[in-house]
Symmetry: C2
Subunit: 314 residues, 2 copies
Amino acid sequence: MRFWILGVGAIGSAYLAFLTRAGHDAVGLVRRNPVSEISVSGIWGSFSVPVRTFTKPEEIPFGPDVLILSVKSYDTKEALLSVRDFIPKETLIMVAQNGYGNYETALELFPENPVILSRVIFGAKREKPGSVRITVCADDVVIGDPRGKIPASFLEELAKLFSSAGIPTRHSPDVYKYLIDKLVYNSALNPLGALFEKTYGELAENPKTRELMNEVIKEIFLVIKERNLPSFFKSAEDYTKVFYEKLIPPTASHYPSMLEDIRKGKTEIDALNGAVVRLAHEAGLRVPTNELITRMVKAKELFNLKDAQESLLR
Amino acid sequence: MRFWILGVGAIGSAYLAFLTRAGHDAVGLVRRNPVSEISVSGIWGSFSVPVRTFTKPEEIPFGPDVLILSVKSYDTKEALLSVRDFIPKETLIMVAQNGYGNYETALELFPENPVILSRVIFGAKREKPGSVRITVCADDVVIGDPRGKIPASFLEELAKLFSSAGIPTRHSPDVYKYLIDKLVYNSALNPLGALFEKTYGELAENPKTRELMNEVIKEIFLVIKERNLPSFFKSAEDYTKVFYEKLIPPTASHYPSMLEDIRKGKTEIDALNGAVVRLAHEAGLRVPTNELITRMVKAKELFNLKDAQESLLR
C-alpha cells in the first residue's frame, strides 16, 4: 500500500520512518524543511532510515492508497485543502490526531472518501526535523470507522500492517469512544500542565489542580451526555476514579506536549477544551472551567508568541 | 501621638520609618526577626532611621493611641487577636491593607473602638527586613471613617500628621469607595500578573488577558450592585474605560506584588478575587471568572510552597 503522510511532526515522523523501514511506499508532505532521513530513538528501538518528503503534492511520483493526517489540529483544514485536488475518492483517509473536530473536518472535505479515525496514544517527541524519540506507549493505536462503512476485515489487515511495521495497532469499531475518552484525559491534564509547567503526577497531587481537573471532567461529561458523544464511561465519577487510579500513575512523570507547544506560542487547545466549549455552547450549556482554561491558554500562547517573535528580531 | 504598627512588611516598614523620623513614638510589632534600623530608598528619598520593633506586645513600654494594621490580609485575624488584650477601647485602629474583609474583621474584633479605613496606593517593596524601597505613588493615602462616627476635624489632623511625616495623606468620608475601586483594580491585575508573570502593561496589551480582566471587572460590578458596595463608578463600562485609559498607563511597567507573594507560596487572593467570590455566593450570584482565577492562584501557591519547602530541606 502507498502512503502519503500529511504533516511530519512527531507522530508523522514516526509513521514515515516505521512504514518506510518496513518497505512500504511512504512519503511525507511538509510545509517547509524537507528531510531525507529520519532517526528514531526511544522505547521501540533506535534506527535511521532514508525517507522521502515533499513540499508540493504535485511532485509526489505516486497517488496515495492511504492518506495519514498528522498535522497539528489547528492546521487540519488548510492541510487537507492543500492536497484535496490530488486525492482520488478511493483513498482512505486516516485521521491520526488529538482532540475533537479533525475527523469531522475530514468527513466534510472528503464526503466521498472512506475516512477512518485513530486514537494514537504513544508519545513521540520530534527533537529536530528528522529526529524523533518514542517516549512512552500507553496502549496500541486503535483504528476504526465510526460510520461502520469499511469492512472490519480490511481494517484488521491495516492494523496488522502497522503492527508489523513496528507501531502496535488494533482495530475497534469503538474507536470514537477511545478518542473521546482521550479527549477527556488531555483536556484535564494538558492545559494545566502547560499553564503551571508541571507533570501529570504533580497536577494530580496538588489538591487545587485536582479540583480544577475534576471540574473540567464534570463539565465534559455534561457535554458528552447532552451531545450524545460515545464514551466507555457512564459518568464523570466513573471516569475520575480510573483517571487517578489507572491512567495517571504510569505517566505521572510526563509533561504534556502542550507545554512545548505553548512555549512556541501555539497549542491544540481548540481541539480540546476549546472544542468542549463549542460543543457546549451549541447545546446551550455553560462550561465555565473549560472556558476559562481555554482563555488562559490562549493568553499564554499570545505572550509566548510575542516573546518568540521578539527574540527572532534580535 | 503614639503608634503601634502591627506588621512590619513593606507598608508597615514605611510607616514605622517615616513616623519615627518625624519624631513620633512609633513601634513595630513583628512575629519574628525584629529590626533596629530601617533604610528607606526610592521616590520619597533615601534615609536610615533607628527603630524599635517587638515580638511581644507586653514588652512595649507604652500603649497605643493609634494601631496601624499592616499585616498581610491572611494574617489579619490572628494578628488582631494577639494584641487585643493590650488595646484600650479608646485606641484608634487604622486598617492599612489591601482588599476586602480586613476592616470588617477589625470592627468585629474591636466593636467599641474607633476604626478607620485607609486606601494605601503607594508601592513599597521590602527588599529584606529593615530595608524598604518606595517604588511608585499613584495618589495620596486616603483615610476616613466609613461609619461617620469620628469627627472630620480629627481625621484632617491625622492626615496632616502623616503628610508632614512624609507620607502624603488626605481625609475623605468616601474612603470606602476608594477601597472598593482599588479592590477592582487589584483583582483585575494582580492574579493574572502573578499567574503569567507579566506587567500591568503587558496584561492590558494582550487581547486575551484583556478579555479576562474585562470579565473580572464585569463580575465584580454585579457584586457591587447586588451587595450595595460603594464605588465612584456607575458601571463596569465606566470603570473599564478609566482602567485602561488612566489607571494602567502610569503603572504599565510594574509587576504586581502578588507575583513576589505567589513565588513564596502565599498571596492575598482571599481578600481580592476570593472575597468577591464569597460576597457573590452569599447573594446567590455566580462569578465564574473570579472563581477560577482564585483557584488557579491557590494552585500556583501550593506548587510554589512545596518547591520552597523542598528547597529548605535540601
